[in-house]
């Protein structure tokens, strides 16, 4: 077992301002970045603010940007860096900062509320649901999501354009719409809710330019773009961009 001193730069500050602070800290075999942050807390900076919970990549709390890449601190092993490298840790840069590595992720909770919930089929009671495995596979993949919000953080639609936040739900919640639209027993359409259409009209699917950063950063390996966003775009096309229907509606509008 060998240990060494690593150089870290950790962003410290709050909404008033802040900067990268230098640390030298011990690193042991098999450790992850979160271990090092904890060591800093215990030995050098007891008030260093950081969110974490399970430390096993299951809860999605310890999201941060490590050397500029959105990652879970608990799932970033120190062995991926060289010993000479200075490792930079900053809070998520798409959300308002609270303090140090902690950001205000309220955006995501606001968006979660805007997606209409699962609509149970009226004719089935508890215990009467029958679904085939192949019919739930797709939605199950999306339900692996641990809501670390790394996809929301990396998505340039809101990361680089604060003004798009009201209009765009972000990959996580567009995926939620896809999950519900693919749920074999979701009865939204019986209640007049067309998830395919609202994905485009209310949740900002059109902003997505499928540049796949959400998929790239997903710690659960969910194929967000290929399996959720693009299928959802295709479903929206079914509803909205059939050119004949579109042309028809244009002509009618003009003549009226």
């Amino acid at each position: 077992m060998s240990s060494y001193k690593a150089r870290f730069k950790v962003w410290r500050g709050d909404v008033e301002g802040g900067g990268l602070k230098d640390f030298e800290v011990e690193v042991n075999d098999g450790e992850v970045v979160l271990d090092i942050i904890h060591r800093l807390q215990a030995t050098q900076a007891p008030d260093l603010a950081v969110r974490w919970n399970c430390k096993a990549g299951k809860c999605g709390s310890c999201s941060a940007e490590i050397n500029g890449r959105p990652r879970l601190m608990c799932m970033t092993r120190m062995s991926v860096f060289t010993r000479e490298e200075t490792i930079t840790v900053t809070p998520l840069r798409a959300f308002p900062v609270v303090r140090d590595l902690v950001t205000d992720v309220g955006f995501n909770y606001t968006k979660a509320r805007q997606v209409p919930a699962f609509v149970p089929p009226a004719e089935l009671g508890p215990g009467e649901y029958r679904m085939m495995q192949e019919d739930v596979d797709r939605s199950q993949e999306f339900r692996k999501c641990i809501e670390c919000f790394l996809c929301q953080d990396t998505c340039h639609v809101v990361r680089d354009h604060e003004e798009n936040k009201p209009a765009f739900a972000g990959p996580r919640f567009l995926m939620r719409v896809a999950e519900l639209d693919m749920h074999p027993l979701d009865a939204a359409s019986d209640n007049g809710l067309d998830r395919k259409k609202t994905a485009q009209d209310e949740h900002g699917l059109g902003y997505c330019n499928i540049t796949k950063c959400c998929t790239e950063v997903c710690p659960e390996g969910i194929k967000i773009t290929d399996n959720a966003l693009i299928p959802l775009k295709e479903r929206a096309v079914d509803r909205k961009y059939d050119p004949l229907v579109w042309l028809g509606s244009k002509i009618r509008r003009r003549s009226s």
Binding site: V15, G18, K21, R93, V97, D160, E162, G204, T211, V237
Partner: protein
């Protein structure tokens, strides 16, 4: 508290006032620019090559091979290609290269393809250049407005691409002839055409729209077992859509270039039998 507390620029994006005050547009230390740069270079090379060849209006037929850029050939000014993909739909008024007529379709297919969109949004438009690297644009509306809203018609280009692929398949069959139109022969060009058509089909079938149409749009796979199998098959190909996009792009250029070499007399097709 912090070393060199930076004043907040508050200039939008990651420098929005409420976010962590970090001036740098990104802090990535890896070679993040490599992928978009390589993509841009590759696409640019193809654009230059294909523009030259499409407007050349020459050296696209050397029996039994017809360049995929000129097939099907739909104007009167097309070379006569014995039993080849000639169909004079446009007549004599079409004065420039007949390649332009047909290339619209594969071009449109690739331009609206979900993979190529990613490639050129990142490579050419830097929107974004790479993940968590700030993009240089002040405004962004994605594919919500004209002209990018037209990306939604991808599936109709897919249908057209199927027709084009069918014609190219026909061309490949024709390549099993010799220069005198006798069947049962093969040359190096036949192999080039075979590889190309396999890649073209694989790329076309692996399209996201195709995946949607064959089964993705269904709510209950269990009620459509055949379409479910088709969807799974397309899904497997679709996972390699990027690879197939590049492979077929190269192969179509190679096939064309091969015909160019033959037609311009720079090279003789080695015949196997």
């Amino acid at each position: 508290m912090a070393t060199g507390t930076e004043p907040h620029l508050n200039s939008g994006g990651v420098r929005t006032g409420t976010r962590a005050a970090i001036d740098a547009p990104h802090l990535r230390t890896d070679r993040w620019w490599l992928a978009p740069a390589a993509t841009a270079a590759g696409l640019l090379a193809f654009i230059v090559y294909s523009t030259w060849r499409a407007f050349a209006n020459a050296d696209y037929y050397s029996a039994p091979y017809v360049s995929p850029f000129y097939s099907p050939c739909l104007a009167e000014n097309c070379k006569n290609m014995p039993s080849g993909p000639n169909a004079d739909l446009f007549g004599s008024w079409w004065a420039i290269s007949p390649a332009i007529i047909i290339l619209i379709f594969p071009l449109g297919f690739r331009l609206t393809c979900y993979y190529y969109r990613k490639a050129y949004y990142r490579g050419f438009w830097a929107s974004p250049p790479a993940c968590a690297v700030a993009e240089p644009h002040k405004k962004y509306s994605g594919e919500t407005r004209f002209p990018l809203i037209l990306q939604n018609i991808h599936r109709y280009f897919f249908y057209a691409a199927i027709l084009v692929a069918a014609v190219l398949t026909y061309d490949t069959v024709l390549s099993f002839r010799d220069t005198d139109e006798n069947w049962g022969h093969m040359g190096l060009g036949t192999v080039v055409f075979l590889i190309n058509i396999v890649l073209i089909w694989a790329y076309t079938i692996s399209c996201h729209s195709c995946r949607h149409i064959v089964g993705g749009k269904l709510k209950h796979f269990s009620k459509h077992p055949v379409r479910y199998q088709a969807w799974k098959f397309v899904g497997k190909l679709n996972a390699r859509h990027m690879l197939l996009a590049w492979a077929s792009l190269v192969s179509v250029a190679v096939a064309d270039f091969y015909v160019y070499l033959l037609a311009s007399g720079a090279f003789d097709d080695p015949r196997f039998f």
